[in-house]
Amino acid sequence: MADLIGGLEAWSVAEFLRRSVWAYPLVNWLHIIAIGFLITSAILMDLRILGLGRGIDASVVVRHLRPVAAIALVVAIAAGFLLFAVKAGDYARNPVFLTKMGLLALAILNAALFTSFRAHRDRHSAGARAMAAFSILLWLSVALAGRLIAYVE
């Protein structure tokens, strides 16, 4: 594990980002923009499942927003990985960062379970609603933990 972290920090891309006054803020920007798309689309789907906006069929909402959320998730993870690489050793020791990763894993697992169980087909099921509510809580918590990483060592 320590070798992996050390290798990541020695990676030429990490070294470049560490010292670049423009590339690092740009990657940071990309990370935040992707998170904006991800959390917005995820929560809009969750709210529809919880009963908001009954005028639009839930399956239509999910069909349009799920790809947005999926692409945004990939971009957010890619940009986040670059930000992590810059100070991998510090983040790997940071309890808030580790908490964020745990919450992120739960949020992705929750979304994957929801999709595989096709819970949205029965939008009135208590299970679907519980997962949607849990999803909102998880994504907001992931964002909060992410914001707090910088304030803890």
């Binding site: 980002l17 560490r18 010292r19 670049s20 006054v21 690092y24 810059v86 707090l148 304030y151 803890v152």
Partner: protein
């Protein structure tokens, strides 16, 4: 009535949570530092000039102080980077220390290495005697 009360309670809980977070937010800007200038001299044990924050670690009589510098571009513009000082060298830092007297942490305005002076916050360094 019941609902209003529940709302009030959750608002209180949220406020308490936010308040609990405040001591941890001692990192960005100057909100976490005191008004007075503070000077510290110690042995350099670590230097990091890069994103997201440039920092130094100074050993002062066995206590390791964490010294935050300016944002990367501003620190580099002041002419300060890893080539300016070697580990083990004596470094003097003038800036503002943490409001928490038990926290060995400060934010630098000026870094002095030997006869060289680096004003990483030139706008604030004008209040200091010129080197």
């Amino acid at each position: 009535m019941q609902q209003a009360r529940r709302k009030l309670l959750s608002l209180l809980a949220a406020t308490a949570l936010a308040a609990a977070c405040v001591p941890a937010l001692a990192h960005h800007g100057w909100s976490w530092t005191g008004e007075e200038f503070f000077e510290l001299t110690g042995t350099l044990t670590d230097i990091y000039v890069g994103n997201p924050h440039a920092t130094l670690e100074l050993d002062v009589d066995g206590v390791v102080w964490r010294v935050e510098l300016a944002p990367l571009n501003q620190t580099l513009n002041a002419g300060f980077d890893e080539t300016a000082v070697a580990l083990g060298a004596e470094v003097t830092v003038i800036g503002h220390r943490s409001l928490d007297p038990n926290e060995p942490r400060m934010k630098a305005v000026r870094v002095i290495v030997g006869d060289k002076t680096y004003d990483v916050y030139p706008d604030r360094a004008v209040e200091l005697p010129s080197p």
